[in-house]
């Protein structure tokens, strides 16, 4: 196995173009498991840990640009305000040791339907920045996940960053696992209420071949919610939202849970996340008034 260690982003892109089958390695928390268990023997590894830009984040116009190599620990410590749902999701990833290393770029690179970053990125309508020697492309998270572990990223491209729209309302992420810590999700869910565009966003994890949106649930909530007056939602509306979320899922039975359980869990998480979000929204509105 060859080892490429670019010192700059330009070198990294050139190396990926020259060796399209080189496997990028950032935190290594997915790649190393495959190497240790010989599940996959790539011809080359492309070490991204020396590329300083990848670990940077900051404002980018009205958005926040999160380098693909920013660790979950940093996201928890620094991005709670800008991207609360992503920070909540980061808090549920694995253990402190893995959060010190694991990254959103790695989550997107592997594109497991159980990855905890995906529901918040979908719900918040984040944009993935892809780059190659030929230039930079922006792909909406909502168009990034194409099939089981298949994404819009081309072989010669690296993930540079995630662009998070300026937050204008509450966001909540929920995850169900077989215990409280160190678990891959049995199912996960994220909802966002965006006061600026008056739209709701959703993201579903671990309940389909890819991370999913519940589009009908978003449309229902966007139409039903009292964006202006911030009146409470009826119990029936909250329940209907939960049902629409569950029906958007396409889960399977596996070692972590049955398809039926996943659908049930999603409807419960959707109701909870929505109720918390509406409460937050009403508090926010009261403060403005």
């Amino acid at each position: 196995m060859e080892f490429l260690s670019p010192a700059t982003w330009e070198e990294a892109l050139a190396a990926k173009s020259a060796h399209p089958d080189a496997v990028p390695i950032m935190g290594g928390t997915d790649v190393m498991v495959e190497l240790n268990f010989d599940q996959h023997r790539p011809s080359a590894l492309l070490d991204l840990t020396r590329v300083a830009e990848l670990a940077e984040w900051g404002p980018d116009g009205s958005r926040v640009r999160l380098g693909a190599g920013v660790s979950y620990t940093t996201i928890i410590q620094r991005l709670g305000k800008h991207a609360p749902a992503l920070a909540q999701a980061a808090r549920t990833v694995a253990s402190p040791q893995i959060r010190n290393r694991g990254t959103v770029g790695g989550n997107l690179g592997g594109a497991s339907p159980a990855g905890d970053s995906h529901p918040p990125l979908l719900a918040a309508d984040a944009v993935i920045e892809l780059a190659s020697v030929h230039g930079v492309r922006h792909v909406a998270a909502r168009e990034f996940y194409l099939g089981p572990r298949r994404t819009a990223r081309r072989d010669d491209e690296l993930i540079a960053a995630v662009l998070l729209p300026e937050r204008a309302g509450p966001q909540h992420f929920c995850k169900i696992g077989t215990r409280n810590a160190m678990v891959i999700a049995v199912a996960s869910f994220c909802v966002t209420l965006d006061a600026a565009t008056r739209t709701a966003g959703t993201g579903i994890g671990s309940a389909g071949p890819t991370p999913l949106r519940a589009v009908a649930a978003e449309e229902f909530l966007t139409a039903e919610f009292d964006w202006q007056g911030a009146g409470p939602l009826s119990e029936a509306a909250v329940r209907h939202f939960g049902e629409l979320v569950a029906s958007a899922a396409r889960p399977i039975d596996d070692v972590r849970g049955s398809a039926d359980y996943r659908k049930h869990a999603l409807s419960v998480m959707a109701r909870r996340a929505l109720s918390w979000s509406v409460t937050d929204y009403r508090k926010g509105e009261a403060q403005c008034a």
Partner: protein, 138 residues
């Protein structure tokens, strides 16, 4: 060419690591984990191999002062960084407060993963997340 990433391997390559403030030079394949490098090449067997997949924590070491799992870290990516293992943790004669505290409270089961627990526990204190029992549990 200056804009070319350095290419090494696939044959064993010479890697220089700083471990417990000592420079160590080893010949390893690029795919070697830090845990295998420590245990198999350098006889630093205090870091344990439990699961080799990031679950158990028995291989916890510090890289540049942050707790990480040696099994999920490539040794070659640690060049130029400071690695601290359980062996580097006390001065060789006197144990540090965390180790003494483990003994005092009989905080062992079989003891295999104790080194990882100690490395993790000290980092927990350093990170400032241990002001109460509830916070530690969290």
């Amino acid at each position: 060419m200056a804009d070319r990433a350095r290419l090494r391997g696939p044959e064993p390559v010479t890697v220089e690591l700083s471990i417990n403030h000592r420079t160590r030079i080893l010949e390893i394949e690029p795919r070697t984990s830090l845990l295998d490098a420590l245990r198999e090449q350098l006889d630093l067997t205090g870091s344990k191999k439990g699961c080799d997949q990031g679950t158990c924590g028995a291989c916890t070491v510090w890289v540049d002062g942050r707790r990480v799992l040696a099994c999920l870290t490539l040794a070659i990516t640690c060049e130029g960084r400071e690695i601290t293992t359980i062996e580097g943790f006390s001065d060789g004669r006197r144990m540090n407060a965390m180790q003494r505290s483990f003994i005092k409270h009989d905080a062992f089961q079989c003891g295999y993963c104790t080194p990882g627990q100690v490395m993790s526990a000290v980092a927990l204190l350093d990170e400032g997340h241990a002001s109460s029992d509830a916070e530690i549990a969290e």
